[in-house]
């Protein structure tokens, strides 16, 4: 009886752990496999707009045809290289700005009294209650030549003619930083909030001024929060499409826009898939290795 229960219990536990795996298989691995498959295919005017990988050659022979030309194309045309580098640069700078703004905010919230803390956190996530697209559109109204910001600057007399902000890199940075800031603040706050304040007192007791205690204790201990926040901002920002197309210079090459053009304007699904796969390989794999190294260094330590 107990043995059977135990077996049942074990099976129940397996079921529970199976849920996230199932989720990843259905919503990540299978779509990824499909995109990978398309990236090795050749475009054709049909529905779907690419050739199948598998052919029946004769009666009983299944032939697989991998087309590597799409990937070769990415290397040959330096449009793609430029777009990748541009995207990584923009995402990197935006991540840095988010960190510089987000860290003090997260720190201040974590140090405020428990009741104000909840209100402030609510305010941080409040923008999520309106559509992302609407919020980006709102920035057009603020940044355009006769928009809110220019009119304000004209009114206080800092400038005497409107200042071109929309359709510049500046607008893209503003849009990305604004949209992704909460993703920086949330993990940082979660980390800073559980910092043991007696560690700071211990540092002061051993001769640190408050800023030195911050630099030697708070900052290194918040590293996991910094990494989590940066990844949460950087990864989606690299593939960002909406913000550069609405706020940025139409000529600005970003990999998200290239992807869109390949899919919907050129209807070249195989090349578009190759772009997506390359993006994944360039970004996610180094990040995975980096995280594994971090975990090994922490040695199952403090934040577990």
């Amino acid at each position: 009886m107990t043995a059977r229960l135990k077996r049942l219990g074990l099976r129940g536990r397996n079921l529970v752990t199976a849920v996230p795996y199932l989720w990843l298989i259905v919503f990540f691995l299978i779509p990824f496999a499909i995109v990978l498959k398309i990236s090795f295919s050749t475009t054709q005017i049909a529905m779907p707009p690419y050739e199948p990988l598998l052919h029946w050659a004769g009666e009983k022979m299944l032939q697989i045809q991998l087309n590597l030309a799409n990937f070769a194309f990415l290397v040959q045309d330096d449009l793609y290289g430029t777009a990748y580098l541009n995207s990584i640069w923009v995402a990197g700078v935006s991540t840095l700005i988010c960190l510089l703004i987000g860290y003090p905010i997260a720190y201040a919230i974590a140090r405020s009294s428990p009741s104000t803390r909840n209100i402030l956190m609510l305010l941080v996530v409040l923008p999520f209650w309106t559509s992302f697209l609407l919020r980006v559109y709102a920035w057009i109204g603020i940044l355009k030549n006769n928009g809110l910001l220019n009119n304000f600057l004209l009114w206080i007399g800092v400038i005497d003619q409107p200042f071109q902000m929309l359709q510049t890199d500046f607008a893209v940075y503003v849009g990305i930083v604004y949209s992704y800031l909460p993703f920086m603040i949330l993990p940082l706050y979660a980390n800073l909030e559980k910092l043991d304040l007696t560690l700071l007192e211990a540092a002061e007791d051993l001769g640190c001024r408050p800023w030195q205690a911050f630099y030697k204790v708070t900052l290194p201990l918040s590293k996991p929060g910094i990494i989590a926040g940066c990844l949460l901002v950087f990864i989606p920002a690299v593939g960002e499409f909406v913000i550069p197309s609405l706020l940025g210079d139409p000529g600005m090459l970003m990999i998200g826009k290239v992807l869109w053009t390949e899919f919907f304007n050129n209807r070249d699904w195989p090349v578009a898939s190759a772009v997506a796969i390359a993006l994944l390989l360039f970004l996610v794999i180094p990040i995975m290795f980096y995280q594994r190294a971090q975990d090994a260094e922490a040695g199952g330590g403090v934040h577990r």
Binding site: D196, T198, L199, E201, A202, A203, E204, D205, L206, G207, C208, R209, Q212, K216, V217, P220, L221, G299, G300, G301, V302
Partner: protein
């Protein structure tokens, strides 16, 4: 009661020397949180090389007083002098004082070695000197082979020693220890108590130790400051605190005691007689006290100072008759709970000198208690 290892040494009693200058002077310190008085008008003089224990129940303000010495809290009023210098408004990082936190507060992102070196690096000492002092200190606290470990790879006792080493390596004039042994198990705690005393004597640092454990205070300290509700109730050596408690609270907090409430019926300079409702005959004490006849007083008698026999004592005072209600065999001694005819239960202890004693007094026997005239301590509050 444990005996202090200091008792065996030559007399160390700077507080009795009118010439001696106190090393730490706490002058009328008060600390309020809102309208709550956490520390209430405390004045203390603590001398060089003392181990001074602040003893008191949880919440009585010990930590708050210690944190004011370290500089983490500003007193609401009063002043603190260390080595003659007014420290009241000096920030913690400029005080010649180090604190060992109750939670140890060992830096989790640094190895044992880095933790110990932290304060020295902060002083900007040369690298070779830092390395040498860290090695010496780790040897002293027997952590040499753990130098490269991170705190999460250490046991509680080892973390405690990292915290101790980290604060001692700075060679502070004064080390503040907040419940340094509370998180350790009993065996380790007793062992560490003696280690602490050895280290303190080796380095000649002045210790102020906070504890809620009276046995720990008795073992460690040169003097004890007993606290209650933010006030210092009594200051004295462990034996003074035990043998001459100044109040019912002090008598009951340190060790166990039998408290007899009564009225002063004879009040002479050389003796007093106290009549108690619980006793058939008066208590006779062979020294005078300063109180007026008829006043309510309490006579406190320690369990080991009461004798027990089957025969009725010959003396007129200082005895009682009782029934054995319970016996607890503790190995080295036995505790007897004896019920007086009034219903009051008296606790006495007897050493188990002989392994087999067939005529040992046992349950439900009628016995007689007696004590010497010098044994009771009379307190008036």
């Amino acid at each position: 009661m444990s005996t202090s290892p200091r008792a065996a040494q030559q007399k160390f009693e700077p507080w009795k020397d009118p010439e001696a200058k106190p090393y730490v002077r706490i002058e009328k310190i008060t600390k309020q949180f809102g309208d709550f008085l956490a520390v209430d008008d405390v004045s203390l003089d603590i001398y060089k090389k003392e181990i001074f224990c602040l003893l008191g129940a949880s919440g009585c303000g010990k930590t708050t007083l210690l944190r004011m010495l370290a500089g983490f809290e500003r007193p609401t009023s009063g002043r603190i002098y260390i080595d003659g210098v007014d420290m009241t408004s000096i920030p913690p990082y400029e005080r010649p004082v180090n604190m060992m936190f109750q939670s140890y507060a060992v830096f989790p992102h640094m190895t044992v070695e880095q933790n110990v070196a932290f304060g020295l690096k902060q002083e900007g000492l040369p690298r070779t000197e830092i390395a040498k002092r860290v090695v010496d200190m780790l040897d002293l606290v027997k952590l040499g082979q753990f130098a490269k470990r991170k705190p999460h790879q250490l046991s509680g006792g080892q973390r405690q020693r990292v915290a101790l080493a980290r604060s001692l390596v700075k060679k502070p004039k004064l080390l503040l220890l907040d419940e340094p042994l509370a998180a350790l198990d009993k065996k380790l705690r007793e062992h560490t108590q003696f280690e602490l005393i050895n280290i303190q004597e080796t380095l000649g640092v002045t210790f102020i130790v906070v504890t809620h454990d009276q046995e720990e205070a008795m073992t460690l300290s040169s003097r004890i400051g007993l606290m209650n509700h933010g006030e210092i109730i009594q200051v004295g050596t462990p034996s003074e605190m035990y043998e001459y408690p100044a109040s019912r609270f002090a008598a009951e907090f340190i060790g166990s005691v039998n408290m007899f409430e009564g009225r002063l019926i004879e009040d002479e300079p050389s003796y007093v007689r106290i009549e108690c409702d619980d006793l058939e005959v008066p208590i006779y004490v062979d020294h005078g006290i300063s109180s007026s006849p008829g006043a309510t007083v309490w006579a406190a008698i320690r369990p080991e100072k009461i004798m027990m026999s089957r025969e009725k004592p010959q003396q007129a005072d200082n005895w009682a008759s009782a029934i054995v209600q319970d016996i607890a065999y503790m190995g080295d001694m036995s505790i007897y709970l004896l019920r007086l005819d009034s219903g009051k239960v008296v606790r006495i202890t007897q050493p188990n000198t002989y392994r087999h004693a067939d005529d040992r007094i046992t349950w439900d026997e009628r016995v007689h208690l007696s004590w010497h005239p010098e044994s009771p301590v009379v307190v008036t509050k």
